[in-house]
């Protein structure tokens, strides 16, 4: 019964951004009329493509340490932070005051805070994975690693939400695409091909990574 759909529903943001919302409220009210401009203001650049995720996915599926979620997690965290600092956040700018934002792009305190919050984001994600069928008593280590990986895929988004560079609605799109990636890919689990990549949580990892790569790339076009 190893079907599990991992997913995250924007819960991470809900949970951790909530304390922040009170402050943001005024801000977001101001922003509301600008919401659409907000969206369009993403700088479209081929460099937005998360090449590091593609490489990690490649490593995960083909290299010697095949399907090692733990190793992948250690590589993912620093790479995501670097990506957030140098590429991703600089491409999201608030139309109101893009100059100010550019100063804010490298907010080191936040960069440090975010990985810690990721660990807490992993808890609702893990619960969601379990709710969708992830094993609790057996293989629970894999469930934990899976949710940590998935939560870190959201790192740039959460950072930007903290930094008030994007609205939660945009963040949700990313989360939903990761969720859909996981949910759709879990269909391969029952097939009787007996391949190692059918074992939990490999399809969900791959699905989640693909979902997040796709969402980052798609922002370039839509």
């Amino acid at each position: 019964m190893a079907k599990k759909k991992g997913n995250k529903n924007g819960n991470p943001q809900n949970v951790k951004v909530l304390p922040d919302t009170s402050k943001r409220n005024i801000n977001s009210q101001n922003l509301k009329p600008n919401k659409e401009t907000n969206n369009t203001n993403i700088k479209k650049s081929i460099l937005n493509t998360p090449f590091h995720l593609i490489i990690l996915l490649f490593l995960y599926t083909t290299q010697r340490h095949k399907f090692d979620e733990e190793l992948l997690l250690y590589l993912l965290i620093p790479l995501q932070i670097i990506y957030t600092i140098f590429q991703f956040s600089s491409n999201f700018s608030n139309s109101n005051n893009s100059k100010k934002i550019s100063k804010r792009t490298i907010n080191l305190t936040l960069i440090l805070v975010v990985p810690i919050t990721m660990v807490f984001a992993a808890i609702p994600i893990g619960l969601l994975v379990i709710l969708f069928g992830g094993p609790i008593l057996e293989n629970y280590k894999k469930t934990i690693l899976l949710s940590l990986n998935l939560s870190n895929l959201l790192l740039p988004i959460i950072y930007l939400s903290f930094n008030k560079q994007i609205s939660i609605d945009i963040g949700k799109q990313y989360a939903v695409s990761i969720f859909l990636g996981c949910w759709l890919s879990s269909i391969v689990i029952p097939l009787d091909w007996d391949r190692p990549w059918q074992m939990y949580p490999v399809p969900l990892m791959v699905g989640g990574y693909l979902g997040s790569i796709l969402s980052y790339v798609l922002t370039d076009f839509f």
């Binding site: 019964m1 709710l131 949910w183 689990i189 009787d192």
Partner: protein
Amino acid sequence: MRFKSLLICLSLQLAAVFIFCIGFFPQKSVLNGSSTFQIEKSLQQEAPPVFSKLILVVIDALRSDFIFDSNISNFPFTHSLLNNGNAWGFTAYSNPPTVTLPRLKGLTTGSTPNFLDAILNVAEDDNSSNLKDQDSLLNQFYLNNKKIRFFGDDTWLKLFPLDYFEEHEGTNSFFVSDFTQVDNNVTRHIPKQLQEKNDWDVLILHYLGLDHIGHKGGPRSKFMPTKHEEMDGIIRQLYENLDNDGLLCILGDHGMNELGNHGGSSNGETSAAMVFASPKLSNFELPSKQKEIKLPITKPSEDENSFKYLTEIQQVDFVPTIATLFNLPIPRNSVGIIIEPLLKLLRNSKLESIKLKENYKQLLDLAHIHSTMDDISSLEDFELFTKMVSIQEDLTRSATNYFYEFLAAGIISSIIGTILYAVLITKDLKFNGIEIISIIISLLIGLSMFGSSFVEEEHQIWWWIVTGLITLSLYLKPNTKLLHLTLFICVRLIRGWNNSGQKYVYESTISNILSRIEYKDMQWYLILATITFVSFNDSMKNLPTFAMSLSLGVLVFSFKVSWSITNGEKVPFVIKDMARTVVKLLFPDESKDIIFSLALNPLAQLFFHCTLGFLVIKLLIQKLKIDKTVDNIFDELTKVMNLVAIMQTRPSNIPMFCVFEIMKMILVKIIKHDYNSNPYVTSIASLVLQHFTFFQFGGTNSIATVDLSNAYNGVSENYNIYYVGLLMTIANFAPSIYWAVFSWDILYSYDTNSILRRQNFMKSKVLPLLFYFIIGCFLFLSCFILRYHLFIWSVFSPKLCYYVAWSIFMNCIVGWVFEGILVLAHW
């Protein structure tokens, strides 16, 4: 859409199912009459038999590793026989369906099984599977005036005419949890038979205990080692009394999977052990694969799950081999090939060659291939073997003939029906959301019918659909987050309750945990809580309803407790005492624990009679309008149906009804408030949950998981097969019945009048019928296209049977007939 056209479509769907099944499950063509020697008749008749005495020990579900593998086997004496050359071991491939009746047919007639046999295995007193007109080893022994004695599983006595046996006693497997008595009833005959060993030629013993242990606790049950030793002791006793011309065969009719069930085609289920033992064998050369191997074998771990040890043979090869060794003609329908090393026992190369040619000729006749003696006699021995193997493969594959006219008619009528029906309902529904969702679900399940693994793991797809639908519903109605979340937690609990499918077997399912000794008490408290909750939830409205719920609830509870005590399970003291108080009412004079087994049948009968009586009285009151105050009988009948479902559920699953009850309250709330009691939404929710819970109760699409433990509730010795069949169907569809009945709360609630009820009844049937129509098309097509597929008999045919059961029992009988009568009673 009018009611009449809906009814016509339903009959069209059932007719298509019926026609297709006639074409798909024909009786196998068999050759009648007994065979005689065909080649060099006189020479063969005069040849001396190698052995003159046969002891056949069939140990039910004796998987190959139970005898051969050092990890699990506890047969020290058998190992010593194998090691000093007095016994030769084989791994015998037993053709699916791996259940006892077809396998016994295979072991005696040598034919490959007909799929229908698997079903008839359940319908035990049916005699259409009788072998009195078919040639078999027993028939040949009988015709040659050998005296046969038989002790063991009474399936044999149903298969063969009783005059074959000079002496016999059958045991039956009424209680699967009986591990010892059932075997002692066989073993107690052995001393007498060994004393009289000059009075018989063939002694057949069939032990069921090991199979029972497997069903109950799996192959690694703690009862296994002792059972192995007991069987080994019996083998020692028999072998030590064996003369030089005696042959002792120990074999399993089939194996078992890691859960201890069987019926399917996994390696464990199809690999049975077969051992030939005789003092004579040490004079001959060992089979090549047994040379230089010390038993028991320790396998490398990567090869652990193949269950292949020593020489691999087909189980049916047993038939021509025994016929040859006892110098009998090979039974006509046998597809077996003489086992090569054992052929050498003839010690006469000319005779060996004649026997081989005889075997070849018999196979040719069976395959309807014409040949002349010259063709045969010119062949060398090794050529004969290769030719026979290819004939055997052909014969095994085409064991049945399909009626193509019926297949085509079935497929075409179901496709035309589906298209017509889809067009008809689309006029009304105009492709609104719920119709599209039901079409997507049907297509998803329909397409999955083409993959054997998706059929085996159908529960995964349903789980996928359930999670998807709840998420979708949450997305559509975001203001009911908490209700949806609770619903989600409930379905997750249900999913964790049991294993389903073949691929993943988890140790820590909730039902396994509850069955552990340390949580056994917990299970019983949960059962008590569930039955109380289901009986009294919402039944306090008026006195008659309360009295009815109370009495039925008490009966169910005391029956379940008595059943478990009779089966030797541990029940907490408090619970036992409660049940004893009830049971005492029936038998005031008895005070020992035997009271529970005495009360078993009366309790169940009382329960069913009360249910039936209640149903009839309610309908009459409603119809005659005697009691003006009772306007709605659905509430009470829902309660009755739920208790019937609990009655037919095994104890470890009963607490799930508590979760069901919570889910039901949430669903009723959501559907009433957020979906305006839409009958289409209700019917899809009901349909999806019926399937989802069916699989989560441990059901699969394999014959192996048909649950028989509740089929005999309240049935005494002379039982009626239809009654048992009905109880068995209810037992296997118990959760589905619950979820079919759940929609009554919404469709026919208090605020509906009889006209609205009729409309709701009709509307709620529209989409499920579409589902069954679409599934039918895909399933018929896949069965037709894959009719030569390796898994046709083990995966696709069982799925077809389940589909028939779903569409006849769940859709037609429960959904249309039963519910229809109740709705009409309100008219």
